[in-house]
């Protein structure tokens, strides 16, 4: 497409800046080229020895020509570009201009300098000037306000500072996906508002994400806004739960996620910001705010954002995403209802039968040790525990079956009043042993550092079709 500029239909064009030593070096060469149209990016009086230098300090021509380096020499024919060369290369300049003996006394070649369009102080402005019209979000102009304080005052923050979502930052975030800004990703509860790719990007900026995190955020939004996941119920409950995300597949390593030491903790940008982006989206687009639709009695710190990757490379088991039906090597997110995590230590067990009973004992406390089946949970098995099962030849299926067996509870222990505790199941309601978790109500993930005979229980929420079910979605379709 021919840019709307004063570029000639035919002939030579040079783009230069006075600040560039190579541009100053080739000044006599430009003076040798009859009819060359010279555009100066910084000083319209440069080069002084060339008549009719054109002012491109607004960089419109440089942007239209996608200039990366100065000097750039281009040839146009019939209104179209037919050749260009960057920096000073005598041979290339002679070939492009058709003039022999250029630049007598100059070295044969000299690299150019970066185009002013790439200067940080002008790059943002140019980005917005060239692509800003693709954005549809309401523009809020701040006059004398501090931009981070302004975000707090407008209710956009979870309590921590947010990155101000300027148009330039949002445009750079949108470079993380090929999807159009206007595409609707999901309908977000509780207000059932449509979230476009652009709105997800704005909230990803707020959360501190990088553009390469965006496809994971988009997949998590898609997963969390399904009927099965029931984000509305999870938000509205008085219980202490929020959405958590576990990431599988190559994307986790590509974006530098932590699946090892402190995987559930602080210190990794992708882990910390992807989960936060989902929660900020539910807050800002969905309208889900604490004290309003969020009725949590206590909540927990992971409601700011809870996201980690499975350690697949070090796992003796197939990844969670594969266990849930995706092909190996597929990048995926699984969202699940999550309380705060709680460690189970067993530093003594060396046999799988003993260790699986320890883990079952830790899991029994989810919701209440005497209440079975209603609530889901996730078990994060650390490498030192997983090794005990791997050494005994227990695959994921065997491990999960043995764990379920160890979580069959004696109804006599569960009845109301048993153990001196009034909470429990009605007396006589169950005759046989009762499973602690519904089928599919316990997720198993492998993660954590190499040292420590621990695993972690992440309690869930009311499971199944009447509560919240884990949901897995592929990431690659959002790239």
């Amino acid at each position: 497409m021919r840019p709307a500029t004063d570029l000639p239909r035919d002939g030579l064009v040079a783009v230069v800046k006075q600040d560039c030593p190579t541009c100053r070096l080739v000044e006599p060469v430009l003076a040798q080229l009859d009819g060359v149209s010279v555009y100066s990016q910084d000083d319209p009086a440069f080069p002084a020895s060339v008549a009719g230098v054109r002012d491109d300090t607004a960089l419109d021509v440089s942007v239209a020509l996608d200039i990366r380096t100065v000097p750039t020499l281009l040839r146009f024919a019939d209104g179209g570009e037919v050749g260009r060369t960057e920096g000073w290369l005598r041979g290339a300049w002679e070939e492009l201009s058709g003039v022999a003996g250029l630049g007598e006394g100059l070295p044969d070649h000299r690299p150019g300098c970066g185009s002013r369009t790439a200067d940080p102080e002008v790059a943002d402005e140019l980005l917005v000037r060239t692509r800003g019209e693709t954005l549809r979000s309401r523009r809020i102009e701040l006059a004398l306000e501090d931009e981070i304080e302004a975000a707090y005052e407008r209710g956009w923050s979870d309590g921590l500072p947010v990155v101000p979502p300027t148009p330039a930052r949002v445009l750079r975030m949108l470079d993380g996906t090929s999807h159009a800004p206007a595409e609707v990703v999901a309908v977000v509860p509780p207000n059932l508002a449509e979230a476009t790719v652009e709105k997800v990007a704005v909230n990803a900026v707020l959360a501190g994400c990088r553009p390469e995190h965006l496809p994971v955020v988009l997949a998590a939004v898609e997963a969390a806004c399904t009927t099965e996941f029931n984000a509305h119920g999870l938000l509205a409950t008085t219980y202490a739960v929020g959405p958590a995300i576990v990431v599988n597949g190559p994307v986790a390593r590509e974006i530098g996620m932590n699946a090892g030491g402190n995987a559930l903790g602080q210190g990794n940008r992708a882990n910390s910001t992807i989960g936060r982006a989902l929660q900020l989206l539910i807050r800002n687009v969905g309208g889900g705010r604490p004290g309003e639709v969020d009725r949590a009695a206590l909540g927990h710190p992971g409601k700011v954002g809870f996201c980690f990757a499975e350690d697949e490379a070090g796992s003796p088991w197939e990844p969670l995403s594969v266990a849930r039906g995706l092909a190996p090597g597929t990048s995926a997110v699984t969202v699940f209802a999550a309380e705060g995590p709680r460690h189970i230590a067993d530093q003594v067990s060396r046999t799988p039968g003993s260790l699986v009973r320890s883990l079952a004992a830790g899991l029994r406390g989810v919701y209440h040790p005497k209440v079975p089946t209603g609530f889901d949970a996730t078990l994060v098995v650390c490498p030192e525990h997983a090794r005990v099962f791997a050494d005994a030849g227990w695959d994921r299926t065997r491990f999960e079956a043995e764990l379920a067996e160890a979580l069959l509870l004696d109804p006599d222990e569960l009845e109301r009043g048993a153990g001196g505790i009034e909470e429990g199941i009605p007396a006589g309601g169950e005759t046989g042993r009762v499973p602690k978790f519904r089928p599919g109500g316990l997720l198993v993930v492998h993660a954590g550092g190499g040292a420590g005979k621990f695993s972690t229980v992440i309690g869930g929420w009311a499971g199944g079709p009447r509560g919240s079910q884990p949901v897995t979605r592929e990431v690659d379709r959002w790239r």
């Binding site: 954005l135 979000s137 309401r138 523009r139 809020i140 102009e141 701040l142 006059a143 931009e147 302004a150 975000a151 956009w156 101000p164 979502p165 300027t166 148009p167 949002v170 977000v188 509780p190 207000n191 508002a193 449509e194 709105k199 704005v202 909230n203 707020l206 029931n230 509305h232 119920g233 409950t237 900020l280 800002n284 687009v285 969905g286 309208g287 009311a462 009447r466 509560g467 919240s468």
Partner: protein
């Protein structure tokens, strides 16, 4: 230069809906009792039904399928069509 920020919200001000005026009397009013399906909600509503019956009122009973999810739109329409007032209750 002014800083421009892009609005991260859904940009629709929450619909300000004024509540209907409270009925001055229940005479001739169609009353609905809605159980959100938390445990023991029916105990509370059964008693309310008794008390309303003493005033000569009959009621219609409704229940959400589960307390964990919003009311199905069809049930909301049904209640709106069949009742003038509704008492929503949970016990727990």
């Amino acid at each position: 230069m002014a800083v421009i920020l892009l609005d991260p919200t859904d940009e629709r001000a929450p619909a300000e809906r004024a509540p209907l005026p409270r009925p001055v009397s229940l005479d001739g009013v169609r009353v609905g009792l809605l159980d959100i399906s938390k445990p023991r909600g029916e105990v509370f509503l059964d008693r309310l039904q008794e008390l309303l019956a003493e005033r000569g009122l009959t009621v219609r009973r409704y229940a959400k399928p589960t307390y964990t999810k919003p009311m199905p739109p069809d049930l909301r329409r049904e209640i709106a069509a069949e009742c003038d007032v509704v008492i929503e209750a949970l016990a727990d």
